[in-house]
């Protein structure tokens, strides 16, 4: 699956990326991580509170740094 981290590259975004990767690894799914830092791309995706996490193009989390466990349960529901 495709994990996208949307954010301007602040420390929160980096932390969210780490947590998302940890969650995907814990579930053992194959994934591809993409960081979207372009402000126009972020706006077009409908995100207004960064950092945000999108899975396969669908924004699931916005405006907070979710823990690896939270992301894991989100990913689990998707698979």
């Amino acid at each position: 699956m495709k994990l996208q981290i949307l954010g301007s590259g602040c420390s929160k975004c980096a932390k969210l990326a780490t947590n998302a990767e940890a969650a995907a690894q814990a579930l053992g799914v194959s994934y591809e991580l993409e960081k979207i830092t372009d402000i126009n791309a972020i706006i077009d995706s409908g995100v207004m509170h960064t950092p945000a996490l999108a899975i396969d193009g669908e924004v699931l989390l916005e405006g907070k740094v979710a823990t690896a466990e939270e992301i894991q349960s989100l990913l689990g529901a998707k698979c």
Partner: protein
């Protein structure tokens, strides 16, 4: 990159020393940069005018100013403000506000809401920009977006509180009101200038971010919650004044704060569902400390703030979120503010003292209330980058060194809303022309409102 001497052939070695030096530089470019940096720092330290009165004094001024901030502003003002800002991020329904900024919202309503919503939504410019972009591209359009962009950094709770505390309630209020009025005027002008273009630009994206995600808490509870917290903050920082009522409140400020604190504890237990035992234990500790050390209410206050934060962290869900949001703000803002205060103290000194920059210079540039002084202050403010809240110690230093009240307001109005890095991001969203128009509007309006404020305020 650890290779210092390039492995040259003997033939090349026989070349002139110049080409060898050039080759050496090419091979070790990054190392060379490090060397240059170290040399520059070394030279700066070597030629530092230590021992001259002005320099030594300026260093000391920086330390004094930080000390004064630590004693006067951190415990009673900054810590609770961080807690309130964190609570706003968690307990206020942003969807309810954003609904008024969506594509179908009436323009005047959107403009009004945009100009004041910064107080609820945004604390630093990094969160303002995506919201701004969203309102512009998929929401209520250019006017409201500009209003939001402008007022956000100036009227957020942290900025108002610390401006009022350090620079006085009058300038704090002038800043907040000025920012809201400005936001509306700038929004209207931008909307009128570009109304044709706006009309042809149709919102094509799905507007998911404008859905309301109402939280389950009754509005009254949320209102009481924030009123009590802001009330405690205001009374704890109540300054002595000449007029009768103000002074009466001043003498009763601690009992009033304690009363609100009691109410807050009750609310946390009854509505927020916090454990009675824990809240009671904290309340008793704070009360005992307040009674034991009546001369240092800061101690009881600090314990109360830290206690609430700790109890929040122990709470599952929203409470934990409250704690981590507050902690994020603290972590993000405090170090920068510390550096900002040190630098401001070094450059400009405490009020009434001189830093490294001679006061007559400041006085000549932005003293009095001439149109030129106001213009200079707004242009400086527009291009300079202020980390969140650092505009306050800098303006304080400038005021102490002879800056007029008008230019001070001009700097506060133009400063945090604009900076070079922030202009570049705005430009990528709305294009060069609109960015230039926006910056010009901000500078011109900041100049005139500083001028008017200076004329009436003195």
């Amino acid at each position: 990159m650890s290779r210092i001497i390039p492995a040259d052939s003997p033939a090349k070695m026989s070349n002139g020393w110049r080409s060898r030096l050039r080759a050496l530089w090419k091979e070790n470019r990054t190392e060379g940069r490090v060397l240059l940096t170290i040399s520059a720092v070394f030279l700066a330290i070597y030629f530092m005018p230590v021992g001259t009165m002005r320099f030594d004094n300026a260093l000391l001024e920086g330390v004094y100013l930080v000390h004064w901030y630590a004693q006067e502003h951190v415990i009673l003002c900054l810590l609770p403000a961080f807690l309130i800002a964190g609570a706003m991020a968690v307990y206020l329904s942003q969807g309810a506000v954003m609904r008024f900024l969506g594509p179908s919202a009436p323009k005047p309503v959107a403009l009004g809401v945009a100009s004041v919503s910064g107080i609820l939504l945004a604390v630093c410019s990094c969160t303002v920009l995506p919201l701004f972009g969203g309102i512009y591209r998929r929401g209520a359009g250019l006017g409201p977006a500009m209003a939001f962009l402008y007022s956000g950094p100036a009227i957020n709770i942290l900025a108002i509180v610390i401006t009022a505390k350090v620079l006085g309630a009058e300038l704090g209020l002038a800043r907040a009101i000025g920012a809201i009025v400005f936001a509306i005027v700038i929004g209207v002008i931008m909307h009128l200038l570009y109304r044709r273009e706006e009309a042809s630009r149709a919102a094509s994206q799905p507007n998911r971010a404008f859905d309301s995600n109402d939280n389950d808490r009754p509005l009254a509870d949320t209102v009481i919650f924030f009123t009590l917290m802001v009330g405690m903050l205001v009374f704890a920082n109540w300054a002595a004044a000449d007029s009768g009522v103000w002074h009466l409140i001043y003498t009763w400020k601690w009992p009033l704060t304690a009363l609100l604190g009691g109410g807050f504890a009750l609310l946390l237990v009854s509505r927020w569902g916090w454990s009675v035992g824990r809240v009671l234990a904290l309340a008793v500790t704070v009360a005992v400390l307040a009674l034991l050390f009546p001369r240092t209410p800061q101690l009881a206050f600090a314990v109360a703030v830290v206690g609430i934060a700790t109890l929040a962290a122990l709470q599952p869900g929203a409470g934990q979120e409250w704690f981590s949001q507050s902690w994020d703000f603290t972590k993000q803002i405090l170090p920068l503010l510390l550096i900002g205060v040190l630098v401001a103290g070094f450059l400009l000194g405490r009020p009434g003292y001189e830093g490294i920059i001679p006061s007559p210079w400041v006085d000549a540039a932005v003293g009095g209330n001439s149109l030129l002084a106001n213009l200079l202050a707004s242009v400086l403010g527009a291009f300079m980058y202020f980390a969140t809240l650092t505009e306050v110690p800098i303006v304080q230093g400038l005021l102490g060194a002879g800056m007029g009240k008008g230019p001070a307001l001009a700097l506060l109005l133009a400063g945090p809303a604009l900076s070079l890095p922030n202009m570049l991001v705005i430009r990528s969203i709305i294009g060069t022309e609109k960015t230039v128009v926006y910056c010009a509007l901000v500078v011109v309006m900041a100049t005139f409102s500083g001028f008017i404020y200076g004329a009436f305020g003195s």
